[in-house]
Every structure is written in C-alpha cells, then in structure tokens.
C-alpha cells in the first residue's frame, strides 16, 4: 500500500482546468520532487492533498483512507503537514511560539504547554539553525529564516508526509545546499517528502523520483535524470525547438 495515492484527481476553477486526471503513488520514505513551469498546477495539487481546496473529481488516499473531503486540520491530524509557497509565519508571535503551536495542536490537546513541547521546539530550531532567534518576533525574520521556521513548524507536528512548497525559491546556491541537508535530515526522522520545486535546484539533488506537470496534466514521472531528458518536460520548460513545432501544434 502506498502512503499517498492520487486517483484521477482533477480541479477546475471556472472554465480553467488547473489539474486534469492526475494519478500518482507516493511510497513511504521517498522524496519526490513535483516540478513544472508556472501555472502547471503544483500548488493546486498540494492544496487538494491538504484539504484547502476540494477536488472537482477524483480521490486522495492516505494510508489506505479516503481523505478527499476532510478538512485541513483533520488531514493534518492524520499526518500530512505542509509549508507554503509564500511563507506564512505567525508574525506577531515569537519564533519559539510558532514552533510550539505546530507541536501542540497536532497531538492530544492539553491546556498548558509542557516543558517537553518547548524542548522539542528548541531542538527543531537548532536543526534548522534558528536557535539563536527563538525570542525574535517571527515577522522580523528574513525570507530564508522564515522558510526555515516554516519547516521547523511543520516538522513539529511530527508528520508522516511533509509537503514543501518552493522552500528554496530565491535562495543562494549555498542556502539551497543547506536546505538539501535539512531535507535529508527530515527523511532520517522518518518523514516522507513531496517537494514543489520550480527550478529543480533542490529536487534534482535530493529526490528519488520526480513528477512533472504542465498545464494541469502529468507529463512525466520517474527517476530525476529520466524526467529531465523527457521531451515533454524540456518543451514545457524551454519551449519548442523549430523541428518540434509540428508536434506541439497537435496539442
């Protein structure tokens, strides 16, 4: 049984098909990169998996359960967490509190924060390199720090599956390398990862497999190097060569 199964998943916004009949299986322990040009439907796919949007048709299965129409917080409780393309920190709360929030509400509710909640939050801040900022307001962090805070907050929920939406967009090559290490460490903690990565700077190095979308359709899936050589993927990213034009006209 795969951890996450997408079954003919479609989403229509008005007349526009953001996603068309996506079938995909994600196995436990994998790191899968979700790639594709702007508007390919990557974030929409994440929004369908996490319950933020409801699909027009199709099903989402997680550990054999149909979670298609569950609400976001319920899906989170089953073990799926995410980060957001535009980082969404709790700006007027402290960095440590941001992470504690992730820890507290994913599990059994208790009325006051336990010492172990804050200790775990501190460990995660250490992991993402923000330990020295725990008392800062989250709104005062830089872009890269915010993304790392997002990651720590999502990891605090102890997810089985973590969806990362453009965690390295705008990062320097060095920061991308550090992020790749973080992703590997997350996998070592037993987390399965699904990573949206427009420029493939992260997913090429860390992914076991890639899923490529274009205009809401699956155009390729498989080993990163194979997907990279796939004609449709190259065409989606780089446009059409002169001798390809006849083919693209058919589309």
């Amino acid at each position: 049984m795969s951890l996450l199964r997408l079954e003919a998943l479609s989403k229509r916004f008005g007349e526009h098909w953001a996603l068309k009949e996506i079938d995909f299986d994600l196995e436990e322990g994998e790191i899968v990169g979700l790639v594709g040009p702007n508007g390919a439907g990557k974030t929409t796919l994440f929004n369908l998996i996490t319950g933020r949007h409801k699909p027009s048709s199709g099903r989402v299965w997680f550990e054999g359960k149909d979670i298609t129409f569950y609400r976001p917080h319920e899906i989170q409780r089953y073990g799926i967490s995410r980060t957001f393309q535009s980082s969404r920190p709790f700006a007027r709360m402290r960095v440590l509190e941001n992470v504690v929030v992730g820890r507290i509400f994913s599990g059994k509710f208790h009325l006051f924060p336990h010492t172990e909640d804050t200790n775990m939050a501190r460990q995660l801040l250490e992991l993402v390199g923000l330990a020295h900022k725990e008392d800062a307001l989250a709104g005062e962090l830089t872009l890269s720090e915010r993304r790392r805070l997002d990651l720590a907050r999502a990891l605090a929920t102890e997810p089985k599956l973590l969806l990362l939406d453009e965690v390295v967009a705008g990062f320097s090559p060095l920061a991308v390398k550090q992020a790749a290490e973080l992703v590997q460490r997350a996998r070592e903690r037993g987390v399965t990862l699904f990573i949206v990565d427009h420029f493939m700077s992260l997913s090429l190095t860390v992914s076991d497999r890639l899923l490529a979308l274009d205009h809401g359709e699956k155009i390729a899936e498989g080993k990163p190097q194979e997907v990279m050589r796939n004609r449709k993927v190259i065409r989606a990213y780089l446009g059409t060569r002169h001798d390809d034009e006849a083919q693209s006209a058919e589309r």
């Binding site: 917080h73 957001f84 969404r88 709790f90 700006a91 929030v101 208790h110 924060p113 010492t115 804050t118």
Partner: protein, 338 residues
C-alpha cells in the same frame, strides 16, 4: 547554547511593567481612602472598572483576530436578562447574573450563525449592525421588556456574608467600588489563564495566519466560536453587574455606542495584543475624560477618545502597554505559564 539562561530581550521589560501594575493596583485598592470620601470620584472609577472589565472580555475575541464593534449587544442582553428576571421573579441577582452570561452566549450563537464566514472589517461591520437586533427588540417588545421606558428600581446587589464578615455591596459607593474591583481582578485572572494557555496560543495563531494555523492541526472555526462565546458571556455578566449597580437601565443606554465603542478605543490605545493593556487604558482614559475634559468641554468631551485613537494609530500602533512589553503577549519560557 544558552538554554539554561533563557533571559533575553523581553525579560528586561518585565520589572518596569510589573512595577507599573503593582503601583496601579495599590492606587486602586487605596482609592476610597485617597478620594477622601468623595462619592463622585468613586462612582467614576467604578464605571471605569466596569469598562475595563468589558474591554478585557472584548479582547478575548479580538485576540483571535475578530474585532467586534457590537459588544453592547452582549452587554445589553446581559443587563436586561438579569434585570428582568430579578425584577419579575424577585430572585436574588446573584442567581440571575450567571443566567445573563448564558443569554449573552445565546445571542453570540446568533452572531456566529450569520457572521462565521466573515473576517476582519466585514466581521466588524456585521457586529455593528447586529447590535440593532436586540436593541430594537428590547425597545419595542413592551410586554416583555417594558420597552423604551427601561427598567426602574432594579434590585441592588445584596450583601455578602462570609462567616462573621459582612460585605455590604449595594448600599454604598465604597461597597460597589470594591465589589467591581474584586470582580475585575477575578476576571483578569481568568482571562490571563485563558490567554496564556494553549487556547490563547491557538487564538493568536488564528489571528496571525488562519491557513497556516489550520495546516498545523488547529480547528479554526471551533476556536473562533469558543472565543466569541467566552467573550460574549463575560460581557453579558458584566452588563448584569452594571444593571444591578446602577439599578436603572434603558435600551438606548445599555445597547448604546458607549459600550460598543469604548472597548475598541481602550484596546487600541492600551494594546490589543496584550492582556492588561485594554483594561489599563480604560482606567486612565475614562477618568481623564470625566474629571478633565468633561468640565472643560461639556458638549464635546468625548473628542478625547477620537484624539487618542488617532494618536495611538500614528505613534503607538501596538498600544502603550504593547510598546512597553515589546509586543510580547503569551510567554513560553520553560514550558510553564510565565
């Protein structure tokens, strides 16, 4: 790492903040002596305390990001519920005041029914409009509420007896004042406990980023409703206390702008991301208005409130108490409440 020494930026501001609070409390406790038996001073501060309590209750909802411009609905329904029940049945106000909280919560459910999908300014405007429903009903349902005549001769708060000690509340200004002060401190303790708990953490997270909060497992609508019910019922209880202290209410008064607008003004001025800020602002501004601006400008003394809002928004967007606490609200240091 310096885990054992979790003293950092916010700690530096605590001693000053605590000193201000202790000084304020000392002044409030000694006020009947300081006022030299002047009833007017005590009455103004009694009312200021009630407004402070209302602001505290209002802020439970505001902490979750929902600004209400219609808390007079809960205050007024609470005042009328307890007033009518005690007047018609002769039951002690001590029994009817809790029912006022319940009635206000029922009204809050009505607000929720229509406004649960609204956020920000839309929610605020809807609550502003919603006040009119209980006001118009109270004003016109003469058979039940005695209409615009209001309720006259409400029973005052009966004396409390603890063993051989005997506290007369309704009979004197001093008694009323201390009753409201004790009630205020009790409510402050309750609100502090609520907002420093994980519930408070959830409410703040929802205010800051609802989508992210939901993605971390927070049941957003459940917590928003809970905040509304808590805030409304505490406001209703406060309205009931007001009714029995003043012993005369009418619709235009208890459903009026005074009780809808002042919590917002005090929260903006004192700091709506803090616990005590709104209450402190009430205790400073209302007496300032009554003792200084009212004698100077009998017709337009309330311009003070407009002026402080503009000044606060321009120069102290997190309120004076928020400025002092550097935005700190809930503090998690070692896993316990601060």
């Amino acid at each position: 790492m310096t885990r054992e020494q979790p003293t950092s930026a916010p700690m530096k501001h605590l001693p000053l903040a605590h000193m201000v609070l202790l000084l304020g409390l000392a002044i409030l406790l000694a006020l009947p002596l300081l006022s030299g038996g002047n009833d007017y001073i005590l009455q103004v501060f009694t009312h200021a305390l009630l407004l402070a309590i209302l602001a505290l209750a209002w802020n439970i909802l505001a902490i979750s990001g929902s600004i209400s411009l219609g808390h007079a609905a809960f205050f007024g329904v609470g005042a009328y519920t307890s007033g009518l029940l005690s007047l018609e049945s002769g039951v002690s106000p001590w029994a009817t005041i809790p029912l006022a909280g319940f009635a206000a919560a029922v009204i809050a459910l009505g607000v929720w029914l229509f406004c649960r999908r609204l956020r920000g300014a839309y929610f605020a405007l809807a609550t502003l409009a919603f006040v009119e429903i209980p006001r118009v009903l109270t004003d016109n349902w003469d058979g039940l509420t005695r209409g615009s005549l209001g309720l006259v001769g409400l029973p005052g708060l009966p004396a409390l007896r603890f063993g051989s000690h005997y506290f007369d509340i309704g009979a004197s200004s001093v008694g009323s004042y201390y009753f409201v002060l004790v009630y205020g401190l009790l409510l402050l303790a309750i609100v502090t406990l609520i907002l420093r708990s994980n519930l408070g953490l959830a409410l703040q997270a929802i205010r800051e980023e609802e989508t992210a909060a939901a993605s971390l497992g927070i049941q957003v609508q459940g917590y928003r409703l809970l905040a509304l019910l808590l805030s409304a019922s505490l406001s209703g209880i406060t309205g009931a206390c007001y009714a029995h202290l003043v012993r005369y209410i009418e619709p235009g008064m208890v459903y009026g702008l005074h009780f809808s607008a002042t919590p917002v003004i005090f929260a903006i001025c004192g700091g709506r991301f803090t616990i005590v800020g709104p209450a402190l602002a009430a205790l400073l501004l209302y007496p300032l208005d009554q003792f200084v601006f009212h004698p100077l400008l009998p017709a337009g003394h309330e311009f003070l409130y407009g002026a402080v809002i503009i000044l606060a928004i321009l120069f102290l967007p997190s309120g004076f108490w928020g400025q002092l606490r550097k935005g700190q609200f809930v503090s998690i240091k070692t896993g316990s409440i601060e």
